[in-house]
Homo-oligomer: 242 residues x 2
DNA sequence: GAGTAGAGATTGTTCAACAATCCTGCAAGA
DNA sequence: TCTTGCAGGATTGTTGAACAATCTCTACTC
């Protein structure tokens, strides 16, 4: 389909913007970002455990980038909280503790609850289709649970919250959330029993989705608050049981 | 005073920790951070205006660092929101608009108000001396106002809020706040009338301090909420008048 | 066993070079 | 006139090598 076949100018411009966005997304080239992507996956999926040191020489060979570029990738990940620098000693996957759990959840609670509460005053009102990504994540989690893929359940649950925050249309909030969820993932890796950690929240996410689609925002905010408190307590218990 | 002249071991260790912290602060990775410091000041003080491009070659000569180190400094400032990268085009001082004002203030409001409200449930109770930095910033602002140094007033007012957030003892919150306030500073530079932008909040900051020192946290939270709404409106008005 | 000195390894920083991309101006064509 | 295509120059992206600064570990002394 060529551009000129589209009739209206508005539609054509929208289409152009879409293409531009795709290109920009694809064009996120930068060797550093590509290296960071690989490392990010290695960390969030648990191949690199908390406490592990990342050797520069070793990784330049594995990732096939220069030391300078690798260090730039390190910087990107430290900004996301997935790595920490120790001067003259190198970069490490951070080891978070109970205090970090409390800190992270405090932030999550205040931000997420505020987003949901804010949906009530929104003008124009939130279109229903904005909730579709939430439902998709719930269904992904449910499917993963059926085949005992609890890590995938955890991932889908987190994506649910990312999309929830996304409803606020705030790029800064999205940034902060990205970092919070990344750090949360680090915490999950010290947990021995992922099933009991993630399973209860599949149904609760579906419950949240339904409250939202019925525009019961205050109720949803209330439910989300206790939800997050329970989740925090679950993590703290898992920590103690370790 | 030499170490051995101090009698007690505890005191000596505390002293050593203090020195270690000072050294660490001084030794902060030097080159890249030193370059970042200079650039940060240039931006926040207005020498580098929003929209300006930062040339690598030019700055390597001015700052006397290598391109790699300079680029690391750029990364640091990008993380703080003081610079933005455009792939293959360079780094620029971002240009914020009304929408950014709304976005920033929404975050400020929810975070700061929550911090103040949370002080009520704090155990152990907040020691009075934790409020001293707040008072110091108020006095700094008052002194600066007497000599018409309105930029300094704005700085002190922002530091007031940084210390306010600091009462929550959350490193992540401190990070986020640092970025939010840095971005706010960018906004101030498009404002023609700094006096009417900053002057009213000197007294209001003092009022907040007094409510806090009387442990009237809910009242303080309420005052802070309207404070921030007024401040946001002031910025938006200034934007429109531009 | 505690403390110290030195060797080896790793990180911090710089430099110079080349590759990839963007911007500018100009000429050719509709 | 407006668009399109194409050099050419300028800027950024990436690399590899080199050296300095710092840490870690081992071996030694007491």
């Amino acid at each position: 389909m060529s551009i000129s076949q589209r009739g209206d100018d508005e539609g054509r411009q929208a289409w152009l913007r879409g293409v531009a966005a795709d290109v920009a997304r694809q064009d996120r080239s930068s060797s550093a970002e590509r290296a960071a992507d690989i490392l990010r996956r290695s960390i969030t999926e648990g191949a690199l455990r908390p406490g592990a040191q990342l050797s520069e020489i070793e990784l330049t060979e594995v990732l096939d980038v220069s030391r300078n570029t690798l260090r730039e990738a390190f910087r990107l990940l430290t900004h996301e909280g997935l790595l920490v620098y120790k001067l003259h000693r190198g970069v490490f996957v951070p080891e978070l503790d109970e205090q970090d759990v409390v800190d992270l959840y405090r932030l999550r609670r205040v931000l997420e609850v505020d987003v949901v509460r804010g949906l009530a005053d929104r003008v124009p009102e939130l279109p229903d289709e904005r909730l579709e990504p939430l439902l998709a994540e719930v269904e992904t989690a449910e499917a993963a649970a059926l085949t005992d893929r609890w890590a995938a359940v955890g991932t889908a649950n987190m994506q649910f919250h990312r999309h929830l925050i996304g409803l606020a249309d705030s790029s800064r909030l999205d940034d902060i959330t990205g970092r919070l969820l990344a750090e949360l993932r680090l915490l999950f890796h010290v947990i021995a029993t992922p099933q009991e950690l993630h399973e209860p929240y599949i149904a609760r996410n579906r419950g949240l989705f339904e409250l939202l689609s019925e525009h019961k925002y205050d109720e949803a905010a209330e439910a989300l608050d206790t939800y997050l408190r329970d989740s925090e307590q679950g993590l703290l218990d898992a920590f103690k049981a370790r």
